[in-house]
Symmetry: C2
Subunit: 187 residues, 2 copies
Amino acid sequence: MESAKSRRRDSEATAAAIVTAAAQLFSQRGYDGASTREIADRAGVNVALISRYFGSKKGLFEASVLPMLSIKSLLSQDMATFGARIAGYYFDGLPEKAADPILAVIRSSGNEAVTAKARDRLRQQFIDAIAEKLRGPEAKTRAAMIIMTVSGVDLMVRVLRVVPEHEDERAALRDRLARDIQALVDG
Amino acid sequence: MESAKSRRRDSEATAAAIVTAAAQLFSQRGYDGASTREIADRAGVNVALISRYFGSKKGLFEASVLPMLSIKSLLSQDMATFGARIAGYYFDGLPEKAADPILAVIRSSGNEAVTAKARDRLRQQFIDAIAEKLRGPEAKTRAAMIIMTVSGVDLMVRVLRVVPEHEDERAALRDRLARDIQALVDG
DNA sequence: GTCTATATAATGATAGAC
DNA sequence: GTCTATCATTATATAGAC
C-alpha cells in the first residue's frame, strides 16, 4: 500500500482519477460539452496530463467510456429476476450523478467519429450478450426489444427526467416495467 | 406568388430556410456539435442573419426544435392503429436525414440550459397528450410506458443504429413492437 | 511525473458597409 | 435585407522547464 504522498506521483492513480472524472462528465454533458480542462479540474490534475496519458480527448473517451459498456454483471445472475433487477436499478434509488456509459454514448452520439466504436461495443456487449442468454424462439428480436425498452427507461429517467413524483405511480411504473421486460426474457 | 429573385430578399423565406437547416443539423449533431456557420451554409445564407433573426444560437434552437415537438398528428387518427403506425414509421422507410426533434433533444441533453424548455414541452406534448387519449386504468403509467418504448425505438434505430439487416428479422421486430405498443394503448 | 506557457484553430456574436 | 470584417472567448494540443 502506498502513502497518500507517494500517490501524488503515481501515474497509475493519476490516470485512474482522470478516467473516473471523464466518465462522469461525459455522462453528464456528452463528448462535446465536457472540456478537457473541466475533466482535469475534477480529477485534481493538470490538463496537460490528459494528452500525456491518453493521447487525445478522443483517446480519453475510449479509455473511460468503452470499458464500462458491459452488462455482464446483470446477466451473470438468475435471469428469472432480470426484469425486476433492471426496473429496480432505475426506480429504486435513482443515482443521479453516477457515471452512466449508455448515457455518455447517447449524449455524444452527435459526434460520429467518437461514438462509432462505442456503438459496435454496445451491440456486442448488450444485444448479442442478451440474445445468448435467452431461450426460446426469436431470441434476437426479443433481445433487441429488451435493449430498446431499457434504453427507453434510461432516456426517460435520466435524459428527459419525467419519472412520476407520486410514490404509488412510480411503483406502478416500476412493476409494469419489470413485468414487461421479464416477459421478453421468458419468451 | 413571388419570383425566385424577390425571394432572395424575403426575410420570411430566409428565416424559414435557417429553421429547416437548423432542425436537421441539431438532430444530426446535437446543439454543441452543430455550429452556426454550418447551419447558415446549409441554409444558403449568411451567418450574421442567425443573430439578426433569432438573437442567438439558443434562440434558433428554440425556434427550430421546440415547435416540432408534437405528436398531435399521430394522436388525431384512430388509436386502434397507433401501434402499427409508430412501428411503421421507424421500420418502413427509415428516413435517415430527416429532422427528428426528439433526437435533437436527446443529442443536446448534455446542455441543461438549452434543453430545459424542450423537456417541459416533451412532457406536455407527448406524455400528457397520450395519457389524455387513453381509456382505462393507469392511463398515466401506460402513457409513460408508451413514450419510453417509442423513445427506446428512436434510440435504437436512429442513435445506436442497430436495426436487424435481414428483412424477416426486421419485420418480426416491427410487428412485435406494434403489438406491444398497441397493448399499452388498449390497456 | 507534473507543471507553465503557448500555438493554433474554431466558436458565437456584433458593428457597420452596402 | 444581406453582407464583410472582426472581436472576444474558448477549445485541444504541445514544447519545454522543473
